[in-house]
């Protein structure tokens, strides 16, 4: 008997469920080949930047889109991962096999410790306390005088992998980032469809019911919070290597806000949306700041319009268009 399976929310948008991510990743994988034809090294580094933030955005979508946990301190995990690279480098340790686990572990530990408190709250209180913890990380980084404080810290060179300086090659770096994004995406897709994922998705809509069925919602939410933090730590590791620089600004609450915008812009609760939204946001930033340095004066009201009229983000818009054409 073929049983119906209930798909995670966004796939009911019916955009040929797997066509979108396949197309996205195909595009991303071919960019280094296309690059010499259009934009050169700049396109390559921009795309890498998009993918790096997309990893953090996908992790954030787990929290916001699938669990209803509006974390306003997500940038802190990116910053912690980045600072792990920076601080280790300042002490002469420039090996990815050391820095990467440390970056992820630090971010995960911070997520665990702060999560213990955060998960006891809900709603507005949750937003505020994640914001507060993000600020704590920000201020701590700003006061680290030996590591640049407010001004930040330059990193001498990108990490080596098992002693090999492969990451200095832009193409190799690009594909490493690509691999991380793909791995993160596949992992999160599996997570969402798993037993664990089903519990947290249920808890988003009806936590009381989930508890009375027998699940300790606190433990489940804490776990996914740690996972999301760890993934963002990975993003920070890659960011530090990409820019060869770390600064407290990586952890500002404005950055956390921008991450939430990226996820919403693409479409919540779909993981694909997180990647699309990140690309859209960074593209808009590039394009609009070409006109004026005050581009946010335009972007701000545009955000308001998105919230009022295009709540489902770009994926939602596309789905509505497809539906509209079918009925026409």
């Amino acid at each position: 008997m073929a049983l119906a399976t209930s798909l995670p929310p966004a796939q009911s948008h019916r955009l040929g469920a797997e066509a979108l991510p396949i197309a996205m990743f195909l595009l991303l994988v071919t960019i280094p080949i296309l690059a010499p034809l259009a934009g050169g090294g700049y396109l390559l580094s921009f795309s890498a930047r998009v993918m790096i933030f997309a990893i953090a955005a996908v992790a954030l979508d787990l929290l916001v889109g699938y669990c209803g946990l509006i974390s306003f301190g997500h940038a802190a995990f990116i910053g912690l991962g980045a600072y792990a690279v920076g601080i280790l480098s300042a002490h002469g340790i420039s090996e990815a096999l050391m820095s990467l686990p440390v970056a992820i572990a630090v971010a995960a530990l911070f997520a665990f410790l702060t999560g213990l408190v955060c998960m006891r709250t809900s709603g507005v209180y949750f937003i505020m306390i994640t914001l507060a913890f993000g600020q704590m990380a920000f201020f701590t980084a700003s006061s680290l005088a030996p590591y640049g404080g407010d001004d930040g810290l330059t990193i001498a060179t990108r990490n080596t992998i098992a002693g090999l300086s492969v990451l200095n090659n832009e193409r190799v770096f690009y594909y490493v980032v690509f691999g991380c994004l793909l791995g993160c995406y596949v992992f999160c897709r599996a997570l969402v469809a798993s037993r664990f994922g089903r519990v947290v998705r249920g808890a988003k809509e009806n936590p009381v019911r989930i508890a009375t069925i027998g699940f300790d919602v606190y433990r489940f939410q804490l776990t996914i919070y740690i996972i999301a933090g760890a993934l963002a730590g990975l993003s920070g590791f890659l960011l530090a290597n990409a820019t060869e620089f770390v600064s407290p600004a990586y952890m500002s609450w404005q950055r956390s806000g921008e991450l939430i915008v990226m996820v919403l812009l693409g479409g919540l609760g779909s993981l694909n949306g997180a990647i699309i939204g990140t690309a859209a946001y960074l593209l808009a930033e590039e394009w609009l700041s070409g006109f004026t340095e005050h581009w946010k004066v335009i972007f701000g009201p545009a955000l308001v319009l998105v919230v009022l009229f295009a709540r489902g983000g770009l994926i939602g818009l596309a789905a509505a268009l497809v539906r509209g054409r079918r009925h026409a």
């Binding site: 709250t121 507005v124 937003i127 914001l131 507060a132 201020f139 972007f299 308001v304």
Partner: protein
């Protein structure tokens, strides 16, 4: 660490406290009554300061600048409510966060566009620009005392309004259970508008009063916003009393922490470690306080909503 210095810092802490209260009061009411998260509230405070600077340039009188800036701040707040916010009541908190974040970006960068990024200043009224002698060798600026006094007076006024007027009662009821109030036939839209406008005015007032002491720059709203959120979360959303207690607490903890953290830490660690750890710990202190409070009381000290 002399007694005089301690007194000065306590007064500074009170000043920051009443400032935070003026901002937090509007924020907590808007949350409490309309369940609306307003990230742009700090920008309202900043606008008050910038408008005061602008009107002072026009009129050369602090008093005129104060009155006009208050009116303009109120008008702007009401316009925001009418154009954007009232379409978002009842929606998911995430929608509020993103929309008000957009407004925040708009105001922050709009201010930069109009007035530039360099800090501006507003001179205080001549009459009140001196210092007063609190005790031997201890001078304290009159204007700061004026700020403290006006903050406390506003708190008292708010208390009277909220406890002894019909509108105030409706606001308190709304903070507890907005749907019930609406079901009782009260024009809830007008109530919301009044709450919002009043809150915006209070924030603007804070901006105007503090402008002579601080520098008026495009980042001033953001710092104060976070503090205000910490205040209302610790105080309990929807509770003015909670906002008052928490605001004073945070003003004092933050100010005294920053001034004396190194000295206090020197009691338990060496001077150079105290000097590195001190400032970091001081800036974190209020967030640690918030974490502790929320761990013990996940809905703040005096939550308005019945559990």
């Amino acid at each position: 660490m002399s007694a005089g210095l301690v007194i000065v810092q306590i007064l500074n802490g009170l000043q920051l406290g009443v400032l935070l209260f003026l901002i937090a009061a509007g924020l907590t009411l808007v949350f409490g009554v309309m369940d609306f998260i307003n990230l742009a509230h700090g920008a309202q405070y900043m606008l008050g300061a910038y408008l005061a600077v602008a009107f002072f340039a026009l009129t050369d009188s602090f008093l005129m600048a104060l009155v006009l800036a208050l009116a303009a701040a109120l008008a702007f707040g009401l316009a925001l409510e009418f154009l954007v916010f009232r379409h978002l009541y009842g929606r998911d908190h995430l929608d509020h966060v993103i929309a008000t974040f957009g407004i925040l970006l708009f105001i922050n960068h709009g201010v930069k566009l109009i007035w530039g990024a360099a800090p501006l200043s507003l001179p205080m009224p001549d009459l009140l620009s001196g210092s007063v002698r609190l005790m031997d060798g201890l001078l304290y600026p009159v204007w700061r005392l004026v700020v403290i006094a006006s903050g406390l007076a506003t708190a008292a006024f708010l208390y009277l309004l909220v406890v002894h007027t019909r509108t105030g009662m409706l606001v308190r009821a709304g903070a507890s259970n907005a749907r019930m109030v609406s079901a009782l036939g009260v024009d809830i839209r007008r109530l919301f508008m009044i709450v919002f406008g009043f809150g915006a005015m209070l924030a603007g007032f804070a901006g105007i009063m503090v402008a002579p002491i601080l520098s008026v720059d495009p980042g001033m709203g953001d710092t104060v916003l976070i503090l205000a959120f910490v205040v209302i979360v610790i105080g309990g959303i929807g509770s003015i009393r909670g906002a008052f207690v928490a605001a004073l607490l945070i003003g004092l903890v933050d100010t005294l922490g920053r001034s004396f953290s190194v000295d206090i830490l020197r009691l338990i660690m060496g001077p150079s470690s105290a000097r590195t750890v001190g400032p970091a710990l001081a800036s974190m202190s209020i967030y640690l306080l918030m974490a502790v409070v929320l761990y013990v009381r996940p809905t703040g000290l005096f939550p308005a909503k019945a559990r």
